[in-house]
């Protein structure tokens, strides 16, 4: 008997041995398998900002079961940054308006004309005629 024949005979016997594994062990093996496959299923519903797909950013939201705290945290940080930027832009715009109004007020107060002159109905006509 050569090495191959010998090995095949051993293999056949070992295959018989696998059919004789008791039911309790088989149940535990099945439980282990289901647990492992459950891990894959959990990984298949990520709450995450996924990486690029054909140049577009794909956003996957799901789960909500806390299995992907890292991705959820990243999403939260991103949204917070966006809100912060929007707030800063609005504040800057409001400040610019205030500056313009302040400058105008200062010019009116320091002018030789009395304040009520600026609101007189003929003020515009007077300005045009004086130029």
């Amino acid at each position: 008997m050569n090495e191959k024949e010998f090995s095949e005979k051993i293999r056949d016997r070992l295959n018989v041995a696998t059919q004789q594994i008791d039911g309790i062990t088989l149940n535990r093996l099945e439980q282990a398998r289901q647990r492992a496959l459950g891990k894959v299923r959990a990984a298949e519903r990520p709450a995450a900002v996924a990486s690029h797909r054909n140049g577009t950013l794909a956003l996957h939201l799901g789960g909500g079961d806390g299995e992907h705290p890292h991705h959820t945290r990243m999403l939260f940080i991103g949204l917070s940054l966006l809100a912060l930027l929007a707030g800063a832009f609005y504040w800057q715009q409001a400040n610019d308006d205030d500056d313009e109004q302040g400058l105008l007020d200062a010019k009116m107060l320091s002018s030789e004309l009395p304040l009520h002159a600026f609101v007189h109905p003929d003020f515009k006509e007077w300005v045009n005629s004086s130029h």
Partner: protein, 202 residues
């Protein structure tokens, strides 16, 4: 795995892979359990090892192509077995420090024989002679496998039971193809010698 950077697999690919993984695990679990048992000679420990290997495969390589799964799984299974021995070694060291009981070096031999005896006693024999012969032969083969050096047993089981080729076996064992051939050849001769000495005919 397909190249092309970080492309996410489509939903269909994921589902197919999940089924392939499920089928693969269902197909390999009995042999994996036996392999682990031949190595550690403890049913609970063998189950723990198989469970650990399944979980790691599912967690780390859930979307690998089906053809890579056997090699990856065997590699993980062997690492889990080695981890078991490392943990046992540490535990035994501490146990020996605090205990003055046993152990003699030739206990392993007796354990194998006792196990053989108990395995034969556990299984009721339905059809007398053929069944007895088959069970005895099987027990002798399993005992002989357990007595093989670990690397020889791994190489033999991967090559001839898992039916991997030499390259796949080498990848799974993390050694050269030459070493696989050497381990396999020695394993066959050792098994044949042990079974012959026990009067076992295949």
């Amino acid at each position: 795995m397909a190249g092309g950077g970080q492309r996410l697999p489509s939903k269909e690919e994921k589902l197919a892979t999940h089924k392939q993984l499920s089928d693969f695990l269902a197909g390999v679990e009995r042999r994996a359990y036996k392999q682990a048992f031949y190595a550690v000679r403890d049913e609970d420990a063998a189950l723990d090892i198989v469970q650990e290997a399944m979980l790691k495969l599912a967690e780390r390589y859930p979307d690998r192509p089906a053809e890579e799964l056997p090699m990856l799984f065997q590699r993980i299974l062997q690492n889990a077995t080695n981890d078991h021995f490392r943990r046992s070694k540490v535990r035994n060291t501490w146990t020996r420090l605090f205990s003055s009981f046993f152990t003699k070096d030739d206990d392993e031999e007796h354990d194998v024989l006792e196990m053989l005896q108990s395995q034969q006693e556990e299984r009721p024999l339905e059809n007398p002679e053929a069944q007895v012969d088959q069970q005895q032969t099987l027990a002798e083969i399993e005992a002989a496998l357990q007595r093989l050096p670990a690397r020889q047993r791994e190489a033999f089981l991967l090559r001839y039971w898992e039916e991997m080729d030499v390259a796949e076996t080498a990848a799974a064992m993390g050694c050269s193809e030459g070493s696989v051939k050497t381990h396999c050849s020695r394993a066959v001769h050792a098994l044949a010698g042990m079974l012959g000495a026990r009067g076992v005919k295949l």
